[in-house]
Amino acid sequence: MTALALPTRRDEAWRYSDLDAVASVWPVPAPVRIDVAAGESAQHHLLQDASDGGVAIHDYVIHVADGARCDFHLLNVGGKLGRVTFDVTLGRGSHFGLNGAIIGGDAQVLEIVSRVNHLQPDATSGQTIRSILGARATGSYLGAINVARDAQRTDAFQSVKAMLLDRTATVNAKPELEIYADDVKCAHGATVGELDKAALFYMASRGMDPATAKTLLLKAFVAGVFDDMGDEDERTRFEAAAIARLEALV
């Protein structure tokens, strides 16, 4: 792979990134390729928990052949920059699922950038992203879905929800659709919120200290992201890592 020029902010996929951090590791290695053969099912996951101050960039190029299925679980919590990208191409009747959580504090920049290409008919894709950001952290989800002219009966959804713990934290949520077929379903939703103050008072009135109450609400917010991980040990590891990161934030 040829070394590409350092990205700039003009490039939409890099607009919210930490370009100084990117420069420190540039050029990044070639992307990881995942090929799921026709009719097969694959589960992949990444727990991105680079050390404090570290820079982690993970790029995936995923090809899901006809009738195949690929489910990816992602927990993006580590480093001063943690960036995970997906370039997915879907064959006829195939499926791609991405369940991701971003949990960040300090001045972390944590990003999920996806491009899902529906090139053939009858493929489905689903992306569920939950972000929790405190202090001066920035969390971004940039998700493009391209539906080619031949990709009739495409069914795609993006569900993006973010919770800001401090007014100084930033979230960018950008589902982006480019559709050239006429018989498609593409649902997308993005919400940004804060912890429910009424719930926090209710919990306090029962004696729960503020940190416990916040952690419980945040756990409920990200609950479900890792529910359908096939490997139970891995699921336990992901959930424990998410909770540990949450507890450090509140």
């Binding site: 103050k197 009424a198 209710y202 306090a204 029962r206 004696g207 416990t212 109450a213 409920a220 917010f221």
Partner: protein, 248 residues
């Protein structure tokens, strides 16, 4: 036990309580009645420490401890329970998890050992049975999808598990049919009618007081207690309404 002296507060700069004084001894149940907008719920929230309910004067102590100096969760650990008129829904957090964390937070604040999972479930089962609430309900998220009556029963189960010294129950009777009212009334008596506990019932209506007999009844209007008496005062209010009393 609960002593409120000349309490004044403001919400968004608007005065609501204007010098409210009330003293409730151990073993006593008091009822506060009053017209809409009198400040009844404001009194409950102010004593509970709800953010935005700014105290502008006076004092409130529970068993000699300064309530107003404490954070809301510290007030609970000190023995205060606030029954909500509109219990809050918390999706994704089960009642059991909610209550176990609450109880163990309180115990930790008091320097007591945490209850184990088994001990807690035993306690929860006992209190749920007392209020006729199915244990399955307690496995569901807090108040989510509960009917009005189920929410109030669940509140009383919470009270039973947390076992407070003092309960302020804000319109716990609203939204209850007669059967549920009987169960909730019996629950309040079973949990709180004890020589070392006290209750402040906030209500619009006499009907709850048929099941939970108050020792004293107070009328709150315009941010102050304007009349106090025995149980007969509630009956008089039911007959005559508040208009005459408030105008006087």
């Amino acid at each position: 036990m609960l002593t409120i002296d000349n309490l004044a507060n403001a919400i968004d700069g608007k005065a609501i309580l204007k010098g409210l004084s009330l003293s409730i001894g151990a073993g006593e149940i008091h009822a506060i009645m009053g017209p809409n907008g009198a400040g009844k719920s404001t009194l409950a929230y102010t004593l509970g420490g709800r953010p935005g309910y700014e105290v502008t004067g006076g004092s409130a102590t529970l068993a000699g401890e300064d309530l107003l100096a404490m954070e809301p969760h510290e007030r609970a650990a000190a023995g205060l329970f606030l029954g909500f008129q509109y219990p809050v829904e918390i999706p994704g957090v089960s009642n059991l998890q909610f209550l176990r964390e609450s109880l163990n937070s309180q115990r930790k604040a008091r320097g007591e050992a945490a209850l184990s999972g088994g001990e807690f479930i035993k306690l929860a089962k006992e209190k749920a049975a007392l209020l006729g609430l199915d244990m399955e309900m307690l496995k569901r998220p807090v108040n989510v999808g509960f009917s009005g009556g189920e929410k109030k029963r669940a509140e009383m189960v919470q009270m039973g598990i947390l076992d407070p010294k003092f309960a302020i129950l804000d319109e716990t009777d609203s939204g209850l049919d007669i059967d549920a009212l009987k169960v909730v009334g019996a629950g309040i008596n079973a949990i709180m009618r004890k020589p070392d506990k006290g209750v402040l019932l906030i209500t619009h209506y006499q009907r709850l007081l048929d099941y939970v007999r108050p020792d004293f009844v107070h009328v709150l209007a315009g941010g102050r207690i304007i009349k106090s008496g025995g149980p007969e005062l509630a009956l008089q209010l039911e007959r005559e309404g508040y208009a005459e009393l408030v105008a006087a």
